[in-house]
Structure formats: C-alpha cells, structure tokens
C-alpha cells in the first residue's frame, strides 16, 4: 500500500514471490510498478522479477513496459547446498548446514550479498561529514571472508548473534546479558547458540547416542530448551504428574529444578515459594506459576492485554462470507480487522446483503505436496512440475452439474478483484458446506502457480482481497466468496472488463464490506 501511495521507494525480495504468493497479486505488481528500484534475489526468473515485461497487466494493457519507472535488478541466489547457514524450524531448533559445493555462475548467498552491499556502501560514504551517514560509517562490518568468492563466514555471524562478554569470551546463556554495555548480543533468544566458542547448532549427535529429548541434536532457542513452560510437566508440588512421562521436576535434595530438558523456571525457586507482597516482575512469581512470560505466571484464556481484539476467543465470519454470523448477528466480522479499501481491493457483499448472490460459492486455497509456496523452488524443477503440471480447481460433482463444468475442462473463477482460469478436477472429496440449513458449494484452489517456469498457470491469489488480522497481520486467503463459470477467462482488456461487470452487478462500492457493525 505504501508502494502504491508512493511512500515506499525500494524493495528487496529475497526468496519471496509476492506476484504469486501474496493476497491480491495484481495490486502487489502495481505496487512494484510504482517503485524507484526493486531487487530480486532468487534461483529463477520468478514472476516478481519479470512482471514489468510479461506480467498479466502487460497483457491486459493496464501497464506498458515503457511507462514503468521501476529499475529492476535480478541477482541469482545460491541454494542451501551452496552455502553454510542455519534452518530454524517451528520447533525452534536452529539446525546448521554446511556448504557442499560452490555456487554456479553468478549465484551468491544472501549473506554474501548483504555483506558486500554493506561494505560497498561504507566505501561509498567514506569521508562523508553528513551526520546522516554517521551511523553507517560507525557500524562495525568486519566479517572474515573466505574462498575465491570472498564468502563471509556464516559461522562468525552466528557467533556475533550469540554474543560476547566483556573480555570477548562467548556467552553461554541470555541470563549472562547485562544492560550496562559490557556484553554484546545480536538477539537474546539466540544467546548461547555459540556457547564455549562452539557452533552448538551444528551438533549432529545421533539419536541412539542420547536420550529421546535429543538435547545434543542442533540447538533450540532459547537456552537449548526443547519444550517451553516445561515446569508445567510437574504438579504444583514439583513432582511429575506421571512417572512414565516425567520431564522436569523439583529435586529437594539439591534444591533445584532438574529433568530431561533445561528447566523453564527460576532454577532454585521451590514449588512452595511465595513472593513478598511488594515483589515485582519475575520476583513476584510463585513456585507454582509455570507460565513465566506472563505477568502473573498463569496460563491465559482471558487475555486482558496484548491483543488488539479479545479478551476471549470468539467466532467471526471471514471478510467475504456467504453467511451471517450466528454467534454475533450484529457484528459478523472482526470489528478491528485491518482493511485496506482502495481501487483494486474491493470487498464483497456478505451474508444476507444485496449482491452477495453474485459470488455464491466459497473458495478456499490450499497447497500440494509437489510444490513449495509460490513455486520459486518447485515450478522450475521438471521432476516436481510433471507431478502437478497445471493450476486446477477442485469442485464437487453437484457444483460441476450446476455450472456445466467438465472434468479436465476449463473454468473461470471470478471475484471483485480479478478472474483466473483453471483446469477442472471434479471430485467427491470436495463436499458442500451445510450451514444454517443451507448448502453452499466449495471450490478448492492450490495457490502455487504463476505464468513463469516449467509448470505454469494463473495464481489463485489474484482473487484475494487484502484483509488482515489485527494482531499478526496475516492475510486472509483461506476463505472467501467467488463465482465460477465454465470455459477459459477472457484475454487482454476484456479481463478487467469482466471483473468490473461483476463488481457493478454486485453493487460494490468503496464502502462494501468495510463496516464495523451492521
């Protein structure tokens, strides 16, 4: 949005393909067309790198290459086998991988790019007296480089993030960090990943040489703790809830918490500890308050602070929904949802509103095993592409009958934002939703495709509106409404014309779907 408004001038895309993977891909491209510069680092010429010459808006005539002011730079990126670095999974494990081969051709790692870019900027600014340049000139940027390509040592960056004490010794835990400037650390949760000067993330001790917690396989943030709030695995009195599942418990002999994992608790705070009346902060937590990151140490269902909505979980309908909200009839959608109403990002009439019948079906997007997110790593692989070669929509036999769709044929799916075409897969797996006594058909759309690569197709995210959740700003692209019709979509200027015709038929205005309450 800041790009469309002209406030955002430059954009680095590193392993990301918003022209396919982000909601309302048309607006994403129009945003990129309004930049001064765009840097794309990827394995292949993904859609976000070529929209200015062969993107959908060039075809419809909405953009002309010679009118686009954005300077686009493409840099081939090194793959994970061509560089050292870490993967962090959703279990918080930081797992190190070692470079196996040198990158081919001009391909370089992201680390190489960022380091040498920083180095060149510093060289460019050297001798400047402009106070604005001072922070960059004063920045320490001295990573050791290695090999013919001058690849920065990823290991050294990890050591810096992990942190150092006053004498330059590696820190082993975030509890050693001081707020007096004597310690240095890139990010507290990773403090200790380079404890004892050893890359703890690179540990690969096999499972048969350690217990089932596998604390010596890689490293987990924070503090190599494998399960958070693990004090809760023991009863309030500090004994395990279950002997078979015992995990962390209080050792009265030693006066410490102990167990299979690193205890997530003040190490010597006894289970029966009661804080003083005037204690504050972590000191005010009792010995049976396991949720130490919460102010009161308790698990929260009622959330009085920290969320834009709440304090209790509830149900809201999606931004575009065929149904009213049975739970909150007056407030069908989250009243604090983040909307961006503007030309090209219009919302649908929902529930019993007039015009909702123009988009009578539910669309949900999903993934396939054979492709990875926006396809940059899979749609250029012949072996993966031949397994899922084309964009398709999944519909039930009943919807196929209702709209004259043929298995293997083409269908066009339309929203107020855009229209896409997909091959039709008629399957009993897709079943109509029955809500409030009414049956509504669903359309399943895998979102991986775009016009470039070995396996090509329209991008499902062309159909999405940008509507974000108020807390984490996650785009809402798993539930919306649409129409479906047999046959391929129009080409050229006829495509936006079709979408405009739908908007007008549904009576869509800038205010449609933007209300807080009915």
């Amino acid at each position: 949005m800041a790009q469309l408004d002209g406030d955002c001038k430059g954009y680095f895309l590193m392993g990301e393909n918003p022209a396919v993977g982000s909601a309302n891909t048309r607006l994403q491209r129009l945003g990129m067309a309004n930049l001064d510069w765009l840097v794309v680092r990827d394995f292949s010429l993904i859609e976000s790198a070529t929209w200015w010459k062969d993107g959908p808006e060039i075809e419809t005539g909405e953009l002309r290459t010679e009118d686009i002011g954005t300077e686009v730079f493409f840099f081939p990126a090194a793959a994970h086998t061509e560089k050292s670095g870490s993967f962090t999974n959703t279990n918080r494990w930081v797992q190190w991988h070692h470079q196996a081969v040198e990158p081919e051709g001009d391909a370089r790692s992201d680390l190489w790019f960022m380091y040498h870019l920083g180095r060149r900027i510093k060289e460019e600014l050297a001798g400047s007296t402009d106070p604005m340049d001072r922070p960059v000139l004063d920045l320490v940027w001295d990573y050791p480089v290695d090999g013919e390509l001058d690849e920065p040592a990823a290991d050294a960056v990890l050591a810096e993030i992990s942190g150092h004490g006053p004498g330059g010794d590696p820190l082993s835990a975030y509890t050693e960090l001081k707020d007096d400037g004597s310690t240095r650390c890139g990010c507290w949760i990773y403090c200790g990943v380079y404890a004892d000067g050893v890359n703890q993330a690179a540990r690969k001790k096999p499972e048969w040489e350690q217990d089932w917690v596998a604390a010596e396989w890689a490293w987990a943030w924070p503090a190599n703790r494998r399960i958070l709030y693990n004090r809760a695995s023991a009863a309030p009195d500090g004994t395990p809830w279950s002997e078979r599942k015992k995990y962390v418990w209080w050792d009265p002999g030693q006066g410490r918490w102990t167990g299979r994992d690193v205890p997530d608790f003040v190490p010597d705070r006894a289970p029966d500890f009661e804080p003083d009346e005037d204690a504050t902060g972590p000191d005010a937590l009792r010995g049976d308050d396991p949720f130490i990151m919460q102010a009161d140490g308790k698990g929260w269902l009622y959330t009085p602070a920290g969320l834009e909505d709440g304090p209790l979980p509830t149900h809201y309908e999606p931004q575009d929904s065929p149904f009213p909200n049975a739970l909150h009839p007056s407030t069908p959608r989250n009243p604090v949802r983040h909307l961006m109403p503007r030309e090209g990002n219009r919302y649908h009439p929902s529930g019993d509103e007039k015009g909702a019948e123009v988009f009578p079906y539910v669309v949900t997007t999903h993934r396939l095993t054979e492709h990875f997110t926006a396809g940059g790593m899979s749609r250029w692989s012949e072996y993966l592409s031949e397994l899922q070669p084309e964009f398709f929509c999944e519909v039930s036999p009943a919807l196929a009958r209702e709209r004259g769709l043929e298995n293997g044929g083409w269908a066009t799916i339309v929203t107020a934002r855009n229209a896409v075409e997909a091959r039709v897969l008629v399957t009993d797996r897709i079943r109509p939703l029955r809500v409030e006594g009414r049956a509504v058909h669903q359309i399943g759309l895998p979102f991986h495709w775009g016009p470039n690569g070995v396996a090509r197709g329209d991008a499902a995210n062309e159909l999405m509106a940008i509507a974000l959740d108020p807390n984490a700003h996650i785009q809402e692209d798993k539930a919306l409404t649409a129409d479906i019709r047999a046959g391929r979509r129009p080409r050229g200027p006829d495509l936006p014309k079709l979408v405009a015709e739908y908007r007008s038929r549904a009576g869509i205005t800038p205010d449609t779907g933007t209300e807080v309450r009915k």
Partner: protein, 280 residues
C-alpha cells in the same frame, strides 16, 4: 545368484502419496521428464509405469467401505441429509507406489535376444541400456505392462532396483526417500515374513480388506521380487489379478512345434520313400 535375493515390500496402508519415490528415482537414475499434462484423474499425473517412469504412485478415490458418522452441524441438518447435495458417504483415497515386480519367472528376460535383460546376483531383473538393441520383444512379454521403449530412442527401460546402489551396499533411492517406510527394501524372505505379520496386524485392527499381492512363490510368475500390501482388490489399483509369465507355454509350444515338424519330416520321408520305390 551370489548374493541373497532382495526385493521391495510396498505397504500401501501407510503410503501418503507424497511421490518422493518418483522424484528420488528420477533424480538418482537421471530419467527424463516425460509429460507436463494434467490428467484430471485425482492427483495422479503420472498415469502408468513406462520407459521414463519407474515408480508410479496411483491415487484412487473411492467410497469408504464403512462410513464415518457425520455430526449434525446446525438445525435443518436432517432435511439436508435426506437430500444430499454432493457425493454420498465418506470417501477414501487409496495410494500405492507401483514398480517393476522383478518376477521370479521373468518373461522379459526369457524373450530378450541380446542378453540386455539379465538376472543379477541380487535376484533382480535389470535391462542394460548399452546392450539393448530396441527390438521391443520384452514389451508385450511383461504381464504387468511395466517395461517400455523410450520414444525417439527405441531402447527399453525399467526399474533396475538401483543396481548401482545395491552394488555399493545401499538401498534403492525410492526406499531411501520414502518418509513412511511404505517402501521397504531388504532380503525377500525377511520382507515376506514382515508382510505376513503386517497383514495379521491390520486384520486384527479391523482392516479386513488388507491382503498381499505378488508374495506367493506359487503364483503365475513364481512370486514377485517386488510385492505389495493392498487395501482392495488388485484390479482397483490397475494390477492384473492373476498374472502369468507370458512365456509359460513356450516349452509346450516348442514341443508341439517339434512334434509337428517331426511328423512333417516323417511324412516327407515317407513320400520320398514311396515315390522312390514306385520309380523302380
């Protein structure tokens, strides 16, 4: 056979349809891409085994034998249930990774005139691309339709059970890549024992349709080196229910041909003998 006979046991009851076996096979054996077309047959865009497809994961959508209970979601559900809008009952997805069966009695090997197809020291059947002359006799000989000639090349290709990897003491690429151990590799005798236990286990768990396919040394091909645990009849997976080595009748045919030839020769000799006597 200098080594123990090895094989595949593909337990389809744990296959998740990820197709990692197909990709690993193609990567290891450097097999070309062979078609970028959507079949619109569930998630199966591979369709069949062939010259450039040595593992094929079948996806079969079918009504579930015993339906799950559907929970009523809202009022009016009962009427909605009486007039269902879409497919009735629950559905299940059968997934199965098919491969060359490495038959005990392999017809492809019997008919190969060049010796390109041979029985390895591991008891597997391998076709050598530097010897194959592209005659194509093996293609109709295979009772499973596995081996095929590559277009624009003519030579026949099929699964080698990663002969090069076996030689180096490694398991085949597909088995290595399989994340659920649906594809198990090992000594055939061991695999057969393990498979029998697995079938019993499934039967006890109420999966009465579980059955083995290709495990029996007394079947029409003398048992497969690659056998399967299926959850329905073989035909459902596109497998022949009662495969027979196509060269089974060859000895009898030669015998008949021999008898015929002998009769013919005898007849001719008799003719000559008779006419000769007449001339005198």
């Amino acid at each position: 056979m200098s080594e123990e006979r090895v094989g595949f046991f593909t337990d389809t009851s744990v296959c998740i349809g990820c197709k990692a076996c197909e990709v690993a096979c193609k990567e290891w054996n450097a097999i070309p891409e062979d078609g970028l077309s959507l079949t619109a047959m569930s998630y199966d865009n591979t369709q069949a085994l062939g010259a450039s497809t040595w593992r094929h994961v079948a996806f079969i959508e079918q009504p579930r034998p015993e339906g799950r209970t559907e929970l009523p979601l809202a009022q009016g559900e009962s009427t909605a249930q009486e007039t269902p809008v879409g497919g009735d009952g629950e559905l299940r997805w059968l997934m199965s990774s098919d491969v060359c069966k490495h038959c005990t009695h392999a017809a492809c090997l019997d008919v190969c005139p060049t010796g390109s197809l041979f029985r390895t020291e591991f008891g597997t059947v391998v076709v050598q691309e530097d010897i194959c002359n592209g005659c194509g006799y093996c293609v109709p000989a295979c009772p499973y339709g596995v081996i095929e000639q590559r277009p624009h090349d003519g030579r026949a290709f099929k699964c080698t059970m990663c002969y090069d990897r076996l030689g180096a003491g490694r398991e085949p690429a597909c088995a290595k890549a399989c994340p659920t151990e649906s594809i198990q590799f090992g000594p055939l005798d061991e695999l057969r024992e393990r498979a029998a236990l697995r079938v019993d286990q499934l039967h006890e768990a109420g999966v009465t349709d579980a059955r083995l396919y290709g495990h029996d040394p007394d079947d029409g091909v003398g048992g497969d080196g690659a056998f399967f645990l299926l959850l329905d009849r073989p035909e459902v997976y596109g497998l022949p229910p009662d495969p027979v080595v196509t060269t089974r009748d060859l000895p009898a045919m030669w015998q008949h041909a021999g008898t015929a030839a002998l009769s013919l020769l005898g007849g001719l000799a008799a003719c000559f003998a008779l006419t000769g006597r007449g001339r005198r």
